[in-house]
């Protein structure tokens, strides 16, 4: 198996063989921030706990970059995703360009973002549309 690393330390925790986004829920002001940092970014409290982030959110705004950025090849769909707990997360969106829409529901997935020249796989998170069924019976 190839060596694997996480694209940015502290953004994903491994639990039962799965990677999940862990944020900090502040017990003083109630805000959830991601990734967890030293103190609550909103109120400076150290009274917080690590919690998994919601896995489904909505697209606040998006852009499609048409030139390469670092290891990524265009088109690169970037989006701010708003989670039910009030946290905004930037991530890439793996979707067809035609279906992109502000307010669309997306869910988080984790996987290899890119592979380094030495074969090291760099793991991270990205979002995919929540499939909606049109027509037919539920």
């Amino acid at each position: 198996m190839n060596n694997q690393i996480i694209f940015y330390p502290g953004t994903l925790d491994e639990k039962d063989g799965k990677f999940i986004q862990m944020g900090n829920k502040c017990k003083s002001c109630g805000k959830t921030s991601f990734p967890a940092v030293e103190l609550c970014p909103f109120c400076c409290s150290d009274n917080g706990e690590k919690v998994p982030l919601s896995t489904v959110g909505t697209v606040f705004s998006f852009s499609v970059t048409r030139v390469p950025v670092g290891p990524y090849k265009p088109p690169i769909i970037g989006a701010y995703i708003d989670l039910p707990e009030g946290t905004r997360v930037f991530g890439q969106l793996q979707a067809n360009e035609e279906e992109l829409k502000t307010g669309m529901k997306v869910k988080v997935e984790t996987g290899v973002l890119w592979t380094e020249k030495d074969g090291t796989e760099v793991l991270g998170y990205y979002y995919v549309p929540v499939e909606t069924k049109h027509g037919g019976a539920e």
Binding site: F42, S61, S63, V64, I76, G86, T87, Q92
Partner: protein, 387 residues
Amino acid sequence: MRDVYVLGIGQTVFGKHTDLSVNDLGAAAGLAAVKDAEISPKEFQTAYCGAMHNIPVVGESILRRLGVDRIPIFNVENACASGSSAVHLLYRDIALGACEVGIALGVESLSAYARKFGKGLIGFEEDHEAKLALTMPSFFAMLCNRLMQERGATIEDICYASIKNHKAGISNPYSQYKKEVTVEEIMASPMIADPITVLQCCPQSDGAAAIILCSEDFYKKHNKKENRAPVRVAGSVISVSGAQDSSYDPLALKSLIDGAKAAYEMAGIGPEDLNVVELHDAFSGEELAAYEMLGLCKPGEGVTLARSGAAEMGGRCPVNPSGGLQSMGHPLGASGVRVVADIARQLWGEAGGYQVEGAQVGLAQMLGGVLSNIESPVVAGIQILVK
């Protein structure tokens, strides 16, 4: 707080200066300011130098070439607001009585940066969202998409500042570009991040700017330009954003709105008193959002203001008559000093082909930095000058 006056300004032509180092550029701008102020650099009691991609002790490295030594010199980095921060700190030193006179420099060589780190879009080092390809164009593309969705901006509106500012830059001898552009040319240029094309982006530039500020006493003793009306820095604010949650809208950046209000209050004026504005138009569409945040129009009416022509030469309050970052160019650390120098030039009536007739009050603004989990852009710099 004491009154602070502008004694002299200087800058290089902005553009590609591949044969000039950061030191060459900074020394040229510094020397131009010294000549303009007609004082010896030995008079300086302190100096600040704004630069984003810095060489070590850049301010000292530049100023030794002008014989400036044995004074406190500070190097300031605050992304595109680095130069604004240098001006602000010098202003503060003089206003609070810590010194009588000093120089603020801003300098950048993106040619040198590209030689070191390669070309391409710039993300912020060590930022986790930058590692997911959040770049300046992708951030401002989202802002443009918000403008289209929330304000009904069309592609023509998004291109407005690029067209207006390229036209204005033609008469500015310091401008990188001297060429008009049309909507068709803008949209035919390569797409960077929808809807932002190359011709909606400021160019990557090399250049430097400098401003010499002083106390009223020093000004009275040393100002030799009898025909120049005294120009005061009446307000100066550096305003940093707060933590971001899902309520944030980049069309209403609190640090800029509050920073502008604080600067107006310091200066004892309102946005309706402004005759000229120089602002951060790194991406064409953002200028329309800035109209609202600076109070040039009501919230929600940035597109309407653009369509009214009020921000053009001959309009109620021309914005970026220099050509702005779109046409002037944007040597990152230099721009924050350059916009203040340009407002001084306007109030002195020395802006030549891009002079706003009768300008009495002007505002210079810069925005800098896009980071994770903080309302971006991260830093707003605002300076108000009054004749």
